[in-house]
């Protein structure tokens, strides 16, 4: 009975969905880390109008649900569904990473800035070579948990009909009626997410420990 569910065709069907999940998550993470770092730096350094605007962006997006941004990009901005999804995730995650980066930068002792500047580094060089590397080391746990959240939260995209792995599994469940069969599909989907996210967290944890040890 369960054998009818665990077939190569079904597994392939689900993994195709998971490929889309990872694709959306990966692009969104790259873009959000890039933009988030820029916003975090601006928020941390600029006390003027630019810093204020970035602050408003971060606060508004951070305090509204991801699903709202998924709906907004889907119905207000006209573009391909998957791209709209990536846009929604980038808008949302950029704000969260911006806040993480701001916190990370603020945790670095002011003396580091003064020392670097006094050695003839300019602001950009100080950030690039002195401040950000130290800050990123502190930010790794927060960033990691955000990346895992992105992978998990792509499942919200099923709300606008994007067939990532959650969507695929819902479609698959429609073909089966026996409780054990449906339950098996739930287990498989949960395991797919679990394995990838758990491995990610293990790798990052090991890496983080290595970095902290090097720091000492």
């Amino acid at each position: 009975m369960i054998k009818e569910v665990i077939t190569p065709v079904n597994i392939k069907f689900l993994l195709q969905g998971f490929a889309l999940t990872l694709y959306i998550a990966f692009i969104s993470i790259i873009l959000s880390t890039f933009f988030g770092t820029i916003l975090g730096v601006i928020k941390s350094l600029s006390k003027g109008i630019l810093g204020k605007l970035v602050g408003i962006y971060i606060e508004v997006v951070r305090n509204t649900p991801l699903l709202l941004w998924i709906l907004v990009t889907r119905f207000v901005v006209q573009m391909k569904a998957v791209n709209a999804g990536i846009l929604a995730f980038t808008i949302f995650t950029t704000a969260i990473i911006g806040e993480i980066v701001r916190g990370g930068l603020n945790s670095i002792n002011k003396g580091q800035w003064e020392a670097a500047l006094s050695q003839g580094f300019n602001t950009f060089q100080t950030l690039r070579y002195i401040i950000l590397p130290q800050a990123f080391k502190n930010m790794i746990p927060a960033l990691l948990s955000q990346f895992i959240t992105v992978i998990k939260d792509t499942s919200f995209l099923w709300a606008v009909g994007i067939e990532e792995v959650t969507g695929k599994s819902m479609i698959l469940m429609g073909y089966y009626s026996k409780p054990m069969q449906v339950f098996t599909i739930y287990i498989i989907v949960a395991l797919i997410y679990f394995i990838v996210n758990y491995l990610l967290s293990l790798i990052f944890r090991a890496k983080h420990e290595k970095l902290t040890l090097q720091g000492k």
Partner: protein, 242 residues
């Protein structure tokens, strides 16, 4: 004027204000009850995770890792679609909302509580136990009150995330704010005003909490710096007297 934010669309929105109010109240109720459940689960499993008994630790790890590494959406849909089919348990949709966000954020809060307890000197627990407190009493009266200061900022952040995540209800016809907005906007095709209003309503709940979290973080940050300074001063005094 027929832009996405045309005036007549706003008028239609305010005429149907009751729908949004209803959704807002549902979101608020589910958030409060969900947070209560998350706190109970979080404290329980957080305390278990620092227990010396291996099996308790293991149970707590399984809960935290399994829930944190699988999507809330899957968990919610399982409660909504899976449970009736598999175990013949049909729950009201708001109860599902409370259970889903409560269990999900309970796993995160368990980690916060664990970190909070770890931040307290081990001698405190030993001292309490030697004074005749049992394990849970020692946690309740000695350890957790001290850990509260460390735990409050991340707990407040979790509360914000919990409120936002109640929107998962929209995917199972839960009647929350996001669901009401989505169905209203799809019916009338007036997306602009609906999304702006919904965003504002979520901000009303989340922004004060987020601001509070930030303020608490700042207080902690200053406290830590101050204690470090004080320690340094004490060190200097010693040198001076020596």
């Amino acid at each position: 004027m027929t832009g996405p934010f045309a005036w007549f669309k706003w008028e239609a929105l305010f005429k149907d204000w009751a729908i949004f109010k209803d959704g807002f109240l549902t979101t608020l109720t589910v958030s409060i009850l969900g947070l209560a459940l998350a706190l109970i689960l979080g404290i329980f499993f957080g305390v278990l995770s620092v227990s010396k008994i291996k099996i308790f630790k293991f149970i707590s790890r399984v809960y935290v890792e399994f829930i944190q590494n699988t999507p809330l959406v899957i968990q919610a849909i399982f409660l909504y679609n899976g449970l009736p089919l598999i175990a013949n348990i049909v729950l009201p949709v708001k109860t599902i909302g409370v259970l889903a966000v409560g269990i999900y954020h309970g796993a995160y809060i368990a980690e916060v509580v664990r970190a909070g307890i770890m931040s307290i000197n081990k001698g405190q627990l030993e001292a309490a136990l030697s004074q005749g407190f049992n394990y849970w009493e020692a946690m309740r009266y000695i350890i957790l009150p001290q850990a509260r200061i460390v735990m409050l900022p991340p707990l407040t952040n979790q509360a914000v995330n919990l409120v936002k995540n109640t929107s998962v209800l929209a995917m199972i016809a839960g009647g929350d704010l996001m669901y009401r907005t989505d169905s209203w906007a799809n019916e009338k095709l007036y997306y602009g005003p609906a999304y702006v209003l919904t965003g504002l309503l979520y901000l009303i709940i989340c922004l004060p909490l987020a601001t509070l979290a930030k303020r608490l973080e700042k207080v902690n940050f200053n406290n830590i710096n101050r204690t470090e300074d004080e320690e340094m001063n004490i060190g200097c005094d010693k040198e001076a007297t020596a």
